[in-house]
């Protein structure tokens, strides 16, 4: 067993930290207020190859593995939840393309996406369903060499950015859930105004309207009727991103609390001298370390998947834990701030709003626990 980072891994972590502190920290609040990431930031992330870390070099990726992705994501999420959300949703889309795409599809979509020239999406959720594929209503009707897609997708990350979107719809002949690669902004593709969500702003969330989108048959991802396994596999990989985005939030909460309790004084001495504050600090550290090792291990597991169902259960466990934990951690850190923590002048206000997203996405925490329990009880 080896828990030490290699030199390359520590350099990767240091690089992401450096980028996040130098480029994101000065504008983190602006990103939150404007719900937008400046184009030059996305361009620089592309140059630094942050958009294709786990993808192989043959497709323009950095071949840094999901373990490398985790190290980078943590540092970015520590500074900006919105940027982390954008990167997580993008990498989720890429993971599905990488795993299930044909050679031709991968050559067409991955290189630009890995360089950040395009940003990927993954669209499953609909107004009527978030956790249950059986209730999916979007349709795909075969017409000659095309599929005609219709329907509405709800809460889709990155739908505003041009690039590939993996969209799940019910193929009309088989009535089976099937995945398609749609070029965002093709004819028939439109989006709603961005949802005004509570946190992780900058990670733009819109609905997607599909009105007779003509998708060439060669853009079918996997096989007809393979949508459900693609969804499960893709989302399982996606949970590496959401778990680690939560981890970064927990780290930020710990650091903000540490900073504040050393600065804020009571009768001339820092409040850190109170045992009640020390217990909070210890709790935060415990929450951070437990989340951290779950995420790092999940990254390593993702590089070595043998049984997708077993991996999905591991991912669900990490996601349930890290998603719930970041909310607890942010609340503890806010309590340590007292009323000041409620003010926009203090980062913990934004960190707590960002944290609240964690348990509710890519399947709510209860759904994750059902996957974990299922993996134990179905034996």
């Amino acid at each position: 067993m080896n828990f030490e980072l290699s030199k390359e891994q520590s350099l990767l972590q240091a690089m992401a930290r450096d980028f996040a502190e130098k480029r994101l920290e000065p504008i983190a609040r602006q990103i939150d207020e404007e719900n937008q990431i400046p184009a030059e930031i996305l361009a620089e992330m592309g140059e630094l190859e942050l958009f294709g870390i786990p993808i192989g070099e043959e497709y323009g990726g950095a071949a840094g593995g999901y373990d490398g992705y985790v190290l980078v994501m943590e540092q970015i999420a520590r500074i900006s939840g919105g940027v982390a959300m954008t990167l997580a949703a993008h990498t989720l889309g890429l993971g599905a393309l990488d795993k299930f795409g044909t050679e031709e599809q991968k050559q067409k979509y991955l290189p630009d996406a890995c360089k950040g020239k395009t940003i990927a999406s993954f669209a499953f959720t609909e107004p009527g369903t978030g956790s249950d594929p059986k209730q999916l209503t979007s349709t795909a009707v075969k017409e000659g060499d095309y599929y005609i897609l219709n329907g509405t997708k709800r809460f889709i990350s990155n739908a505003n950015h041009p690039g590939p979107c993996v969209i799940f719809a019910r193929e009309s002949e088989s009535q089976e859930v099937t995945a398609f690669i749609v070029d965002k902004w093709c004819e028939g593709y439109s989006i709603s105004e961005p949802w005004a969500k509570i946190g992780m702003k900058g990670g733009v969330l819109t609905d997607v309207y599909m009105e007779n989108i003509k998708v060439p048959a060669q853009n079918l991802l996997g096989q007809i009727g393979q949508g459900f396994p693609i969804l499960l596999y893709g989302i399982a990989l996606g949970k590496i991103g959401t778990s680690t985005a939560a981890l970064g939030g927990t780290l930020a909460a710990l650091e903000e609390a540490l900073k504040y309790v050393k600065e804020k004084t009571h009768r001339g001495a820092p409040i850190a001298k109170f045992q009640a504050i020390q217990l909070k600090i210890a709790d935060l550290k415990i929450k951070y370390e437990t989340s951290r090792w779950l995420c790092y291990r999940l990254g390593w597991l993702a590089n070595n998947i043998k049984d997708p169902a077993a991996f999905a259960a591991e991912a669900a466990l990490a996601k349930a834990y890290c998603g719930d934990t970041v909310v607890e951690a942010a609340k503890i850190a806010m309590d340590a701030h007292g009323s000041y923590g409620l003010m926009k002048d203090y980062n913990i206000e934004r960190i707590l709003r960002d944290a609240l997203i964690g348990p509710e996405i890519e399947g709510v925490s209860d759904m994750q626990k059902m996957i974990v329990a299922g993996s134990l009880l179905k034996r």
Partner: protein, 249 residues
């Protein structure tokens, strides 16, 4: 023409803890000095314009083989390393002949860059000592370096003005920490750093007659004590008065 950048392996200063007024170095990972990274960035910028290779030169214990990956990720093309445990505690009189001998073994060196001082001891001697041993001209405190044929045009930023010099190559130049902002390396530059060419020599292979160790011993290394006056004020007027009487404004 190749550019050599001498970089020192030091403990990662951000991770050092102080216990009983002494730095605790156990378990602290090694890193490269901050100003050394500026020197490297200056070299990489010159190379991008003028061509040639950037070779990072480092002497240290065996850990330096790992530590140097940071420089290879940040744009150096090759590494030349001299390994010996004794080098970590050696002072300038020992390190200078080692580095000078190493530079002699590297082909077509036009410029040898140093940071103005190392990240830990900051003795700032090595540039001058190595230049002396090589018989090369040396320019210190550079804030700008340009190559013009067989010469370099160097701006030195001094307290009361900028001095511009023309120096014949090969030359030794020590750079200031604000000469540039080192770039952030990309993911693959980091991941491929370990695959770049490395020449690793044991100290004996240089066949040098070195002075006995150590010639200088650090007895204590502490920040000066500052006693805060802890003057309490009740109003802005009192604050202004206090600042005036302290001679601050």
């Amino acid at each position: 023409m190749n550019i050599v950048v001498a970089m020192k392996q030091i403990p990662d200063l951000q991770q050092i803890r102080i216990r009983q007024r002494q730095p605790v170095l156990d378990g602290v990972p090694a890193a490269l000095g901050m100003i050394d990274k500026n020197a490297l960035e200056a070299a990489v910028l010159l190379k991008e314009k003028e061509g040639g290779q950037v070779i990072v030169l480092s002497a240290g214990n065996e850990e330096v083989e790992e530590t140097v990956k940071e420089a290879l990720a940040a744009g150096a093309d090759q590494a030349f390393l001299v390994i010996d445990d004794s080098i970590e505690n050696a002072d300038g009189s020992v390190k200078a002949p080692i580095l000078a001998e190493a530079v002699k073994r590297i082909e077509d060196v036009g410029l040898l860059l140093f940071g103005e001082g190392s990240g830990d001891n900051y003795s700032g001697q090595l540039g001058s000592r190595v230049a002396e041993l090589l018989g090369w001209p040396q320019v210190g405190f550079a804030s700008k370096i340009e190559i013009q044929g067989s010469q370099a045009i160097i701006t030195r930023s001094l307290e009361d003005g900028d001095e511009i010099l023309e120096v014949n190559l090969p030359a030794v130049v020590t750079v200031l920490g604000d000469i540039n902002e080192p770039r952030i390396p990309s993911v693959t530059q980091i991941l491929k750093a370990g695959r770049k060419p490395k020449e690793v020599l044991e100290l004996e292979e240089l066949e040098l007659d070195l002075p006995a160790l150590p010639q200088i011993k650090t007895l204590s290394n502490l920040a000066p004590e500052t006693n805060r006056k802890q003057i309490k004020v009740g109003s802005v007027e009192e604050l202004i008065q206090a600042l005036k009487s302290e001679g601050v404004i």
